[in-house]
Symmetry: C2
Subunit: 320 residues, 2 copies
């Protein structure tokens, strides 16, 4: 009565009826020189990953093992992202079931111990339309007419209206505000409209500089999921500090948040928010790196992980 009727199918493939392959996939992020970077292996089009195996004590430790083995990078902060069941991935014809459990990890670039066939790439190479720090990126001037065209290409009027609306919301057309958290929705729209490489077809695919670098299988979708999650999370949890050096200036902190969010923040307001939440404390030293008046150095108050636990790091973003 509990788990019923598992024997009704003909066991056709190598796998038994109720078993599946389980893969662990990592989106490993660091920020360097105001640029959000992704850890990749192979041709910079693959995320670190590997099968969940018997000797792994847990999903997390399995993931750490694979990433360290493939990239030489030990991981700090880890958070589960999403679990996909991707039939297409390995073998649709063989009817294997493959499950991918994806994780978001935050580190710093320096923690590498040499090694391996891996490297860091700005995540905006994969999503050129996501970086609004210098205003609306030019690639959107190319993508917008293509998206409109796709919307108008629908057979019935209802679908057309719906498509126009979805595109307008996701990309901020028609005087709407840009919402940096909609990274996944934007990716899915571009996928549906076949403007990017993964989306089969290929005839309508925009040039790589516009549509961004593709990745194998569904890895770019997983990256989009990670970016969206991170952009949302920095607003209510102090996770940014996982990406910072032990001591830093407030401007460095701001630039890091801006790199992740893909948009600029008002400086005084950012400072006010960080200080009034008591997220940081002065080290007493100053940094002379920037030319002008020396900036005070701060360190993260680890105490907030206890007492403030949930309050969160709101970030003040410009409205329009």
């Amino acid at each position: 009565m509990d788990h019923q009727a598992k024997g009704t199918r003909k066991g056709r493939a190598a796998l038994k009826a109720d078993e599946a392959k389980v893969d662990l996939i990592a989106v490993v992020v660091a920020v360097n020189d105001s640029e959000p970077c992704l850890l990749t292996i192979g041709n910079a089009d693959t995320l670190p990953s590997g099968p969940y195996a018997l000797e792994h004590r847990s999903l997390q430790s399995g993931l750490r093992g694979w990433v360290e083995q493939q990239t030489g990078h030990p991981l700090g902060y880890i958070e589960q992202l999403y679990t996909f069941a991707d039939r297409d991935r390995i073998g649709a014809e063989r009817q294997e079931r493959a499950i991918s459990i994806s994780y978001l990890a935050l580190t710093r670039k320096e923690q590498a111990t040499g090694s391996a066939n891996c490297g860091w790439r700005s995540w905006y190479e994969y999503f050129p339309w996501e970086d609004h720090r210098s205003g609306t990126p030019v690639v959107l001037d190319i993508l917008r007419p293509r998206l409109i065209e796709w919307a108008e290409g629908a057979s019935d009027a209802t679908t057309r209206r719906e498509r126009r609306q979805r595109a307008a919301i996701a990309f901020g057309f028609d005087d709407r505000n840009w919402n940096e958290e909609l990274t996944l929705q934007r990716y899915e729209l571009l996928y549906e409209s076949a403007l990017i490489e993964e989306a089969g077809g290929g005839r309508d695919v925009a040039p790589a500089a516009v549509s961004g670098k593709a990745m194998i299988a569904d890895h770019r979708r997983i990256l989009a999921t990670g970016i969206a999650r991170l952009r949302s999370k920095i607003k209510y949890r102090p996770v940014v500090f996982e990406l910072m050096r032990p001591s830093f200036t407030l401007l460095q902190l701001q630039r890091t948040v801006e790199a992740l969010a893909g948009r600029l923040i008002n400086k005084p307001n950012f400072r006010r928010l960080v200080e009034q939440q008591e997220l940081v404390e002065e080290t007493g030293e100053t940094s002379l790196e920037t030319g002008g008046r020396p900036a005070k150095l701060y360190r993260f108050r680890h105490a907030v992980l206890d007492d403030r636990a949930v309050a969160g790091t709101k970030l003040p973003l410009a409205r329009a």
Copy 2:
């Protein structure tokens, strides 16, 4: 180079090295008469679940299939919660790996089509300390000294301070505010301190009326995850309407939100927020159910699922 060295382990059990059993588990929620209800099977201590099988087109459709088969309930809104790898669950000794992918589903009680060995229970039967609608529940008067006792029982002073602090934050001791979103943290504290049944031991377990009804395996933890997610989500996405009838009064809507959040909301402020976000529109009819002045009936504006898509239903909660 991609997925390397999968043959290094001795194939010991029935399962092959890189395969695992995958279960789908559902937390199905409805709200009836201002009471948040959970759909259970068996002895009201089991969540609907079943193995992910070959004939399932996707994880979601597999889940829908199992729930409908076990309870006769078709599901509407579904959202993935978390993926657990629970060695303990099925057979630690056999070294099987079992993966549980959990989902949160929202429906209405009426949509049942009779059938089956299942039923609805208020989720506060499992978590009596979570309902603060009538002020701080009395069970906390019993749990608090037990938690303090547990905290003071630690060997070193650092651990003691840390435990006291965690308990105070999670449960709102020492004049802190109650935070309804910390359901999972509270469950984990009670688990660690062995005050609930699942936590092995048993000698310190409080009476069932205080520690709540237990569930099999880790099902109560999964429920806690679902409650926490839902309490967080109603604040920024209009998901409440999945639980409402096609037309409803604003007070009914408020009572539903309060049931989920486990705390009361200021009436005028709630109305203001709902109206200024244009989440609902009047049907033109009124409800006479309540005795006094008839309440206007409203329906959900499905348009907001498009245009406002992400804005969100903030809910105004009392501060202290």
